[in-house]
Symmetry: C2
Subunit: 205 residues, 2 copies
């Protein structure tokens, strides 16, 4: 993977996070590693402890994984199967008669938090993830029999990054995209004080 500009102030688990597109195709995720990564989601905070998240896990080589690859966008079909796992994320969109927990307006927000915790835990174990939205949500809902009070939301590719001399048998467009420099808006664009649009005082003092 190409070097990327990252602020040195961040803690290493965040500083060294990258949305990796080229994974080691020989790496296998063991059950203990998977459990630890999903425990990170489990202990994520949520509104009123609603825990409005779900994960369908496909491991390279199993039937769930094969079914997931079928519903990916054609671009994502090229690189995502190189990862050891593909995880589809879900959030609760309505109450369930059998479920004690009511629907929370913050379900998608809390799913995002849980996925970030997955990312951090994976990083602590030498792994990386790349998230994506490019798949046929309707086909995934049907294939995995997702009930109406849940919504398939995003995909996560999870695996061990390929080594520097391993192109992962990827076409040039994937390798080029994986090397794109990262960019972000400056803090002044989104950190306010006093009122919206006024950069926070501590940024300009």
């Amino acid at each position: 993977m190409a070097p990327t500009a990252q602020p040195e102030t961040l803690t290493p688990l965040l500083r060294d996070r990258e949305s990796v597109m080229v994974y080691d195709r020989s790496h296998v995720l063991g059950p203990d590693t998977l459990r630890a990564i999903l425990e990170a989601a489990r202990w994520s905070p949520s509104a009123g402890n609603s825990q409005p998240w779900g994960f369908i896990v496909g491991l390279r080589g199993d039937d769930t994984h094969a079914a997931m690859v079928e519903v990916l966008s054609s671009a994502n079909q090229v690189w995502a199967p190189s990862a050891s796992a593909i995880i589809l994320t879900l959030h609760q969109v309505a109450t369930d008669e059998d479920h004690e927990l009511a629907y929370s307006d913050y379900a998608m927000f809390d799913l995002g938090q849980a996925v970030a915790h997955i990312t951090v835990q994976a990083r602590s174990m030498g792994l990386q993830v790349r998230q994506f939205g490019g798949f046929d949500h309707g086909a995934a809902t049907e294939r995995f029999a997702v009930p109406p009070h849940w919504a398939v939301t995003t995909g996560i590719a999870l695996g061990l990054p390929a080594g520097p001399d391993d192109d992962g048998e990827m076409p040039d467009w994937v390798l080029a995209r994986a090397r794109l420099p990262r960019s972000r808006l400056p803090l002044e664009a989104f950190v306010h004080s006093g009122k919206f649009g006024h950069p926070a005082d501590f940024l300009t003092d």
Copy 2:
């Protein structure tokens, strides 16, 4: 703070995260610390790099903070001001004529991720956060002149946890709530494979 049951498999920045209610009222957040914490949000991933997040930052003692405390629910007014900062989070809910980035369906999800990154960075600096939704969103929108294409979403109290012998001058109900044991659904309830509702094979093998 009371001891809490946490899985030992998690990386320390996640394992030792707690939604702390009692903070050190003498702690002041310096600009370098604040910047690093907000850089964590800045470098968070988002759909198409849409970066659909915003933060209004109030520091204990400044006018923004005082205005925030006024719009908090009465329960949150009791404990949240003990933290060194209160941050209101926003996500983009529509396109902006002046903004190059289109609205993303994943804005709330991505805000959740950015807030999780804030939490992890804060933890790496010895700080904790507690998130809350209990405040007058309409009053906050008005007070901070939030434009219609943004939505005030959640609140974050950020600070240094009070020491074990410091009750933070909190009433008994806060101290009792802060000591409540944490609970979560088992992994089998939300980690599926094959189809929704079927616990992932690696959990039962």
